[in-house]
Subunit: 355 residues, 2 copies
Amino acid sequence: MPDLQNDRLLRALLRETVDKTPIWIMRQAGRYLPEYRATRQKAGNFLELCKNPELACEVTLQPLERFELDAAILFSDILTIPDAMGLGLYFTEGEGPAFMHPIRTRADVEKIGIPDPESELAYVTQAIHTICTALNGRVPLIGFSGSPWTLASYMVEGRGSRTFSRIKGMLYSEPTLLHQLLDKMARSVTDCLNAQIAAGAQVVQIFDTWGGVLAEPQYMEFSLQYMRQIVENLTHECRGRRVPIILFTKGGGLWLDALANTGCDAVGLDWTLSIGRARTQVGDRVALQGNLDPSALYANAEGVSKAAKNIIEDFGQGSGHVFNLGHGITPDIDPENVKILVDTVHQYSARFHND
Amino acid sequence: MPDLQNDRLLRALLRETVDKTPIWIMRQAGRYLPEYRATRQKAGNFLELCKNPELACEVTLQPLERFELDAAILFSDILTIPDAMGLGLYFTEGEGPAFMHPIRTRADVEKIGIPDPESELAYVTQAIHTICTALNGRVPLIGFSGSPWTLASYMVEGRGSRTFSRIKGMLYSEPTLLHQLLDKMARSVTDCLNAQIAAGAQVVQIFDTWGGVLAEPQYMEFSLQYMRQIVENLTHECRGRRVPIILFTKGGGLWLDALANTGCDAVGLDWTLSIGRARTQVGDRVALQGNLDPSALYANAEGVSKAAKNIIEDFGQGSGHVFNLGHGITPDIDPENVKILVDTVHQYSARFHND
């Protein structure tokens, strides 16, 4: 591995001093970029793009050409794990992801196995190798996975859901069966993330996109518990460096304290919780990542810049902050506003790191 | 007005002793009931049903015939106020509410006036008179309105939204214009709720369905501030009784403390915050309403009953709790599970009120 030329992200995640607050953006390689849409068309569809290491590398690097981002994130999808389990992932235009063979019965749960990352998910580690070579140490590469609860939600519902009626029916009627599924998912996620780390990922993030739809005791039992189990079993050091782990539960502001006690290095915040208040709450247990409302990017240039500055001021002086949106960037955002955001964060944050 | 035969709801909202925890259910008169669907068909469509006092009364009473509920809630829609402002409310099958003339410009904001509840919204007060006569003191009647922020969201977006791109664009780019709109909405909501109270509503609830999509400082400035303004200007006593005010911000668990300081009598909780933890936080400032996950009703009978008992235990001994779901009941729920819920709450809660 070549030396890292920009280690702001790694340093901020470990709460070491930095010159400026690092920034990356969830879904930074995405549909808001015309060059992304062109590559995706070339690939045929979204899933083909994920499974093609060369093209996945191409889109991973695209946002770095436009913006002074402090990290690259593997271009992939959280649902590649259930796909590797044989559920038959497909994408419908406008409706999002769906599975041909959803998990509905005890037999369905018992049937699925733990995928071997080196065979069933080889395209993921291959993409990481390709991206690391292309990056050549420019910025660190973030690997990722969905959380067991989030993956299980899609697997049981069979597609996106507003009410989560099937998985919550299972949770309240057959909790033991759901635990059996979640345990398999936790083991699969652990293997997949450890393979990503071995292949070159220098940071990993677990996306718990749907943890926030749970009631508090159910969140602890059915989502957080399994993320803690993963954190315990991840490779914490690789190639002589600590590999920081970021946990992100969308809608998890109420459970920040429990998240900070999982053993992770950083907690990702959505925009509903003030990052200053969050910092007071977590103290020096973890770094924080976030948390601009993605819809602030619908504002004019002045509005975007002001909103970014407010977050930086709210976090305050010193390290331990990775700037990000509070959720993925939406497809109808003007890339020009992303440039304003990234540049504002770097320029304005310098004064908060001068002691 | 005839004497109230069941005042459990009013007593619990004022934290006075009760024999059992009262329960009502958001959207209790709704599509999950076959008799509701029949009346709605008779009316022609949803909006006609809202505007017909006799039929609105019919559906308001339907759930009380099936379940031992402790309150009736006016059958109406939060968007009747913007409709009375001339925005042209209509409903599309499967897509929800929409406006023919959304608010997009300064001129749009300046043009709208404060509706007179006695003329433009006469069908609302007429429905309340009709319902009160039919109830004849059986249970109290709850009146309601949307919050200024929630109403403005629909008015500016023109329909439901996932990203709230237009109103958040306005919030971050033209905050003064948005404040002008929200002030008009707050005055309109105040007039409308005071008219509902004068007509016979014994409790009022403000539904801040979309407050939870805001970042913390924006929630305080653009949603909570206007709810506080309404609370200050509502009729607090009518017909010799206090008229309790319930504020419900979906996704507002992080802001419970601020909600409890608005001067309202009770705060409605969605299911993401433990009600026991919420009770500790608010102390004796307000009563609490909630907070079963509506999707717990997808469980089997045993699962529903267990989930309800857990909430009652979590709240603990004594008054100040109104049982409800954490959001409206969904259309595909089996009414049999609602019966199990209501009966469990009454039977199981008695032991928590015996000191």
